[in-house]
Symmetry: C2
Subunit: 358 residues, 2 copies
């Protein structure tokens, strides 16, 4: 078995020890004679996994009993619709920051449902960046405000969480639990699982119960947060295997502690940004003060060189480095589970590639 260094933006690399545990138990989960995939979601084995995953997430986020953690199918994309369906009523306004592709997607779904104020818009700016706190214009009395803490495609991350004056919701799909953060500042945080938490198939939603209660009762049952709170995410059959993997991954995170995870993430990112900053051959696409620790985006002098870079990196065991199809260039996604050795390998390759082609 020879694992490659996997720079995919999501679905993305998972901790090797979690994959190995899942593999060992795949046909016979801990002596039960069944796969975790084959078990009733209301049986005792799965129940323990489900509740541990939820509790691990609450612990990692530092959330108390005023919050619930939910697993909802449909990824962040369905959350873009559920949020306004639950809270954005007629004659109300919600504030959104649009700082990239994902912020724009959230805005689009909200606009289909109600009145949206764009509190700041840097979506199309190059270099890519997050708006500064100064330029954000919040609506007094907004029903909620929505931010995207990390723009996966732009390679930017919000370094300071704004005071918005209204209940704050954050899409943290690509940087959740990658750094210490005060999760109690948010009425809701959500993330597609497939970057820092597990495989694809669920959005993790941390939600303040009193805010959920204020939701509208009009959406269909499956699209109401209150349904999933009332039923502990077991209103219908949950994506059991995805939640099982989230359980293993959050165990792995708890063993290290978020401070260590963050220190590693910052160190990994710095090594790559240092190479970028040491030469004109590589050009970072994000403004320096907004650089993401998760998705490092950069360009080479020509598209031909970029294609060659991706090809030769893959030949050297470094895969999925191609930038998002909407922007091109190179993207090195280095989520929590991405190993330092893979960063060292990329850094060495970048230096060598420049020498050969610079």
């Amino acid at each position: 078995m020879s694992r490659v260094y996997n720079f995919a933006a999501g679905p993305a690399v998972l901790p090797l020890e979690c994959l190995q545990e899942a593999q060992a138990d795949l046909v016979d989960f801990q002596g039960s004679g069944m796969s975790i995939m084959e078990m009733s979601h209301r049986g005792k084995e799965y129940d323990a996994i489900h509740n541990e995953a939820r509790e691990n997430l609450k612990k990692l986020m530092g959330l108390g009993d005023d919050y619930e953690v939910l697993f909802i199918q449909g990824g962040a994309s369905l959350q873009f619709a559920m949020i306004p369906m639950n809270w954005l009523g007629k004659d109300q306004t919600a504030d959104y920051i649009n700082a990239g592709t994902w912020g724009a997607s959230a805005v689009k779904q909200a606009q289909m449902i109600g009145n949206v104020n764009i509190a700041a818009n840097t979506q199309k700016e190059i270099p890519t960046r997050m708006p500064s706190l100064d330029e954000m214009k919040w609506t007094p009395g907004a029903v909620y405000s929505h931010i995207t803490t990390n723009e996966t495609i732009a390679g930017t991350e919000m370094k300071e969480i704004p005071e918005t004056g209204s209940p704050l919701i954050a899409d943290m799909s690509s940087d959740i639990l990658s750094c210490p953060r005060d999760y109690n500042r948010f009425v809701m945080v959500y993330a597609g699982a497939q970057k820092n938490l597990g495989p694809a198939g669920a959005a993790v939603v941390a939600i303040r119960k009193d805010f959920a209660e204020k939701g509208s009762a009009t959406p269909p049952t499956m699209l109401r947060y209150q349904t999933h709170i009332d039923k502990n995410s077991l209103y219908n059959t949950p994506p059991c295997f995805t939640i099982y993997m989230i359980c293993l991954t959050t165990r792995w995170l708890l063993k290290q502690g978020l401070e260590t995870v963050y220190a590693n993430n910052a160190a990994k990112a710095k090594k790559i940004y240092d190479v970028i900053d040491s030469t004109a051959f590589y050009r970072g696409t994000a403004q320096k003060d907004c650089r993401s620790n998760m998705n490092i985006t950069f360009r080479l002098p020509t598209e031909e060189l970029e294609a060659l870079f991706v090809k030769q990196a893959a030949e050297n065991g470094m895969k999925q480095l191609k930038g998002h199809r909407s922007v091109g260039g190179i993207r090195a996604s280095i989520y929590n589970a991405f190993p330092m050795a893979g960063v060292d390998s990329l850094v060495a390759f970048m230096k060598e590639f420049e020498k050969r082609n610079g």
Copy 2:
């Protein structure tokens, strides 16, 4: 490793050879150096799996290019809402058969959105049964009609598909691909994957494209069938691992052919029903002409004996035989992947249990 006989109603038993293949490839998918869970959903490895799963399903259902097969998160429960959201407009009527818990759930979501005619209602009848074709009252000009071909909790199956006069939609969650059926009679067929197709985490939707086109444009993007048709179920990150398992399971079905699968299913069910019919100790809960080949429901003389039956069966390697919490009794779910040896084991146990306790 000692596998038990797993009678769970869903998530349910999967073909052992599919689980073993998934296990072998879990950390390193076919020499790629990555798990299938870690790969971009737009990369070539996953792409091949995704398209094979879709094509396998089309082949098994005998569907041509006028249909598309989709993978949508949220299970059948989200489909209950999406169907009326897409097609049940103001001043229109949809017909529903309510023959059990799942039919009733579909009705409830549709009633939140528009006008519903209950074409027949046997939901609360004991013995449980499907309505006869005679008693179904269809609305001329209904925008669609909806049936549930197998009621998992009631243990009933629709033996003849009605002529409804309007576009026909079927929830086949618990008997899809368990028997030959003319899938071309339906404008849409859907099924939660976790019974006959794979693990939990997706609904498989087979939809006639011209019917999808008639849908309303008002639901949010993720809730419109046309979105998923246009994007080959890749509008957002799909539940890759669930679809991978569906790919393996449908390969396994294709190898056998649906006629063989059905013959096995019928033979498996007959063995258990024969024991039930040979004695007054066991009492089938479904009317004989509606008995399901997938979910076999029966009672014992007392609830104490039922509890003892479930307990002793488990001690003998036959697990998850307890009836649904809403109805009690015993339920033996024997989907496609359930082995004949497990049926023989149950049949022997039933006879012995009666001898000891009858």
